[in-house]
Amino acid sequence: MTINRKKASERLVTLVWGLGLIGLWEIGATVVENTKRSPQNVLPHLYQIIQSVFSTAMVSNKQTALQIVLSNAGLTLYRAGIGFLIGIAVGFLLALLMQRFVPIEKIAFPYLMMIQMIPILGMAPIVLAITKDIDKSRIVIAAILTFYPVATNTLAGFKSVEKEKYELMHSIAATDRQLYTKLLIPACIPYFFTGLKISAPMAITASILVDTLQGGGGLGCMLSQSLKHAMSIYVFWQIVFLSAIVGILSYQLMALIEKIVSPYERAGA
């Protein structure tokens, strides 16, 4: 009863904040509307954006704004997803290798730190020139951005295992396989998911940015064209909101998968 009430009031608070934010936006939009020549470029009213979502007017290529956004979203998210999966695989594998072999850890650790300093988003055009294919470069960049948080967090998970537990496993003559499946992997799961939660929105951002490089399609391409006034500016605003929603959902999805994979972990945390 009390828990339910607490939850309900928490929801209410978030709702109030959300409404406050909407109010803020609307006041800003009203100010802009009265001072600017083309207010829709700066800050349109929310209802105008919603109107554009349901509008049936053809914006370009015989498509409505919403059709453009959705058809291009598929392209972008698909590549982001592939890159994300590759990044997870590589990151996890590297963490495993680093845990297993000390020299690899020593070699790789400083570079893991440095990899996040490489301005990979700034390098996107060069990655495109080297891979010679926009799809490949989307995947590569999304993978690189995913790989780092996954690797460092998983490694931290392996390291979090107490010495006593190791000794216990050794004392019962556990095999290597048992050591990993019973102790190390379960221990690193929460850390692994922390990495996933960080990298999922990043993979999407990366994929959108790569889109802006070429005229071939994708959310970023439409965002950039809309900003250059090649099509309705509302395509831009729709993409802003869509990308925010997808970013949040990707985070929530990772949290959901974590819950399914390890329901018992939650109790402690």
Binding site: S60, P125, K132, G215, G216, S224, L227, K228, M231
Partner: protein, 365 residues
């Protein structure tokens, strides 16, 4: 309890003020009176005035050289404001002398259709062609190696594209409609305006003479463009800068493909039939020749299966051609020169626009 509510209110107000404050920063500017230019003012006086105030605008990324040449001509420093892809900056007077393409931004400034600013005859412009600082724009180029290996394909592509341009210029309204149906990004009215202006660029040279041979490479105009590019394209890489200053017309242009195409009867034995062409910008009447050739089946007639790739992304069309992502590209001479100076080996095979389309637009008193 009451106290708490006050705190909350104060907090919300502070956050609100922080978030909205940038919006209110304007205000005082409304009082500023901007004087424009008289209809009979000399080009020099206008350029000097706007440059002195630091209010000459251009988009940069390779579009600025003609503007810089004009500024130099009238003894002004070559700095300019970074102009957005709309004309709001010109509209609100933060830019007095704004860059505009005759076929695009100028139309938006003058006309009052959707997206236009409706200035009509209350604006005038400085034409780069009249000022002797014109550089050549939209051409057709490919890798030199590709041209050497696929000469028939290049000739066939040039032949069919020029047939497309010829038809488009003769039937502007139909061409505008074709482009619109191929996924044009601008309104139908603006498309039609654009098609009419593009026709002028394709059929008139820098001196104002009529051109009847579509896509002909005018050596003299190329040389003028090259000279300006060598002066105003600034490369930080000394090796590339050295290459740039040593570029000759032969490194850049090969008119033999166009000549062969112009002389042919349309029969080609193409080496490669699946062809892609990368435009310099978004789909619009600026590229109507290619869309018309596609729509009318001119490419099919010469045995080519052509895919048109829209531009407007941040990776240059030169890179796209160089890396082999596409076979042909549409770009400007200055871009081609910078690319070749950097180490690419690209070659122009036809010059579609015969004169510069950049103007500097200003408001009249």
């Amino acid at each position: 309890m009451n106290k708490k509510i006050w705190f909350k209110t104060a907090f919300i107000l502070i956050v609100f003020a922080l978030a909205v404050s940038p919006l209110f920063a304007s205000g005082s500017q409304e009082d500023m009176v901007t004087t424009y230019y008289d209809a009979d003012a000399s080009v020099e006086s206008i350029v000097v005035d706007a440059a002195t105030k630091g209010q000459v605008g251009n988009w940069g990324i390779g579009n600025e050289y003609e503007i810089q040449a004009l500024l130099t001509k009238y003894g002004q420093p070559t700095t300019y404001l970074s102009q957005a892809f709309d004309m709001d900056g010109f509209d609100d007077d933060s830019i007095l002398l704004a860059s505009a393409m005759t076929y695009n931004e100028l139309g938006l400034v003058k006309n009052s259709y959707d997206g236009g600013y409706g200035y009509g005859d209350t604006v005038s412009y400085i034409d780069m062609n009249d000022e002797g600082v014109a550089m050549l724009e939209d051409n057709i180029f490919c890798n030199a190696e590709f041209a050497a290996e696929n000469p028939e394909t290049v000739k066939a592509f040039v032949y069919a594209s020029m047939k497309g341009w010829e038809y488009a210029c003769a039937n502007v309204e139909e061409a505008a409609e074709i482009v619109y149906n191929y996924g044009s990004s601008v309104s139908a009215e603006h498309q039609l305006y654009m098609a009419g202006e593009i026709k002028k660029l394709v059929e008139t040279d820098t001196k104002g003479n009529t051109v009847t041979e579509y896509g002909k490479i005018d050596k003299e105009a190329v040389l003028q463009s090259m000279e300006l590019a060598k002066t105003y394209v600034k490369l930080e890489d000394s090796v590339a800068a050295e290459n740039l200053s040593n570029l000759t017309i032969g490194d850049l242009v090969d008119s033999s493909y166009w000549e062969a195409a112009a002389a042919s009867n349309g029969d080609f034995d193409v080496e490669k039939s699946e062809i892609t062409v990368q435009l310099k910008w978004l789909p619009q009447a600026q590229f109507m020749g290619y869309y018309v050739a596609l729509d009318k089946g001119y490419y099919d007639e010469v045995g080519l299966d052509v895919t048109v790739v829209p531009g407007g992304g941040d990776i240059g069309e030169t890179t796209a051609v160089y890396t082999g992502q596409v076979d042909f590209g549409v770009t400007w001479i200055a871009n081609l020169m910078a690319a070749n100076a950097g180490g690419m080996d690209l070659i122009e095979v036809a010059q579609v626009f015969q004169r510069s389309g950049i103007v500097l637009v200003y408001k009249l008193n």
